[in-house]
Amino acid sequence: MTHAIPQGSPIITVENVIKQFGRFAALRGVTAEFDAGRFHAILGDNGAGKTTLLRALAGLAQPTRGTISIFGKTPQAACRDLGYMAHPSLLYDEMSGMENLRYFAGLYGIAGDTRCEEAIRAVGLDPELTRGVGQYSQGMRQRMSLARAILHDPRVLLLDEPFSNVDVHSAREMVGLLKGMRDAGKTIFVVTHQALLLDGIADEFVWMQAGQIVDRTATTARAEVS
């Protein structure tokens, strides 16, 4: 069951964004507004531009044309409000999860181990694990990657394929965790091919094709939550 998206106060505004890699346009004039505290699932075939859009929102891909505004700032200026999780883990394989998070916490000016331990426990892992992240299972690595993304308590989470190569049980646990974060007021973007996992959880499904947003479908999940 779907209904029209209510027009609230958007926190993210994407205006006519074009992103070209040489002659190939990965994004072809994307225009959209996204409201706070919602769970957006971005879907589409391979090459549709999902990851490029997410990287542009994270400030990792500079639009060739057009603008992106997050809380009224550029993505780079809003970096403290953004948590980014990519398809690769963005972690050092040779260091333990805690060592990784301690280092990344330092980049955000977070002192002490408390916040790192909280983030690791939040994703269901043990901060005492001493082995290197490279020796973790894929599911554990994905969780630790999520812990790194939420370490600085960002208001917006940008997650690229967080459930890929993760078993169904672990994926459902991660979805539950993300649902809890959304309920706590965070805005979540998930790029995924596993739409079924987010059925009843996501507030909106954003469909992309050939570098454009072709459809946005709001679900009843938000109504249930509120």
């Binding site: 972690l91 980049l107 000016g109």
Partner: protein, 224 residues
């Protein structure tokens, strides 16, 4: 979160990673050891001749060995795209550059400390000039190599054949520094000329290129 706190946190992390993997140090050590052995077999100079050529041999060996370390430093950041985690953080870009340059400086200095005695023994070297001047020449020369090397290694990070690209970019721009290192070292070893000019040359080179690298690194880091 200051420039220096992030710099030292990143430096500490890099030293920890190197200590665990020993990728850069092992490669550099074996490479320069091979160079020393090959030079020893290729030339069999008298002590007097050695003093004139060792300056060049030593720095060529260290320059080539440093390239190995410089490539390793950034390769570590490419695995699992960890560099993106730094790029999305509010940490100052120059902190990353300084940490990498300082890390490489430490690794290359360790290599020099281990390899210099071998050169002294194999070439039966006796310093005729003021030996203390070798210290500023070594420190300034090493910084000249690593500061440009770290910058150009970052620049060639996203190129397909970065192992080839780095020496192509680094060696031409290092020529003034290499001249200063080689001529300065030879001047001290032979005692023929004072090495002050070469020390000032290296100092000037270091100041100019460190400033330029710091000014341009943010652009390099965020280049796509």
């Amino acid at each position: 979160m200051s420039l220096w706190s992030v710099t030292f946190a990143t430096l500490k992390k890099d030293i920890r990673l190197e200590w665990r993997s020993k990728d850069a140090l092992n490669s550099m050590l074996f490479f320069s050891l091979l160079v020393v052995v090959i030079f020893v077999f290729s030339f069999d100079p008298l002590a007097e001749e050695s003093r004139h050529i060792v300056g060049g041999l030593v720095w060529v060996a260290f320059l080539f060995a440093a390239v190995v370390a410089l490539n390793q430093t950034w390769a570590r950041e490419l695995r699992n795209q960890v560099l993106d985690a730094y790029r999305v953080s509010p940490a100052p870009p120059n902190a990353l550059f300084l940490a990498k340059a300082l890390g490489n400086f430490i690794f290359v200095s360790v290599l020099e400390a281990l390899m210099t005695p071998l050169f002294v023994v194999f070439y039966n070297l006796h310093v005729l000039g003021p030996a203390w001047q070798l210290i500023p020449i070594a420190l300034l020369g090493t910084w000249a190599l690593v500061v440009n090397g770290t910058f150009f290694a970052a620049m060639s990070l996203r190129t397909r054949s970065r192992e080839i690209m780095l020496p192509l970019l680094l060696f031409p721009i290092s020529i003034p520094a290499v001249l200063g290192m080689v001529a300065g070292t030879t001047a001290v070893l032979t005692g023929d000329n004072p090495a002050h000019f070469y020390i000032v040359l290296l100092l000037t080179y270091d100041v100019v290129f460190t400033t330029a690298c710091l000014a341009l690194f943010e652009t390099v880091l965020h280049a796509e």
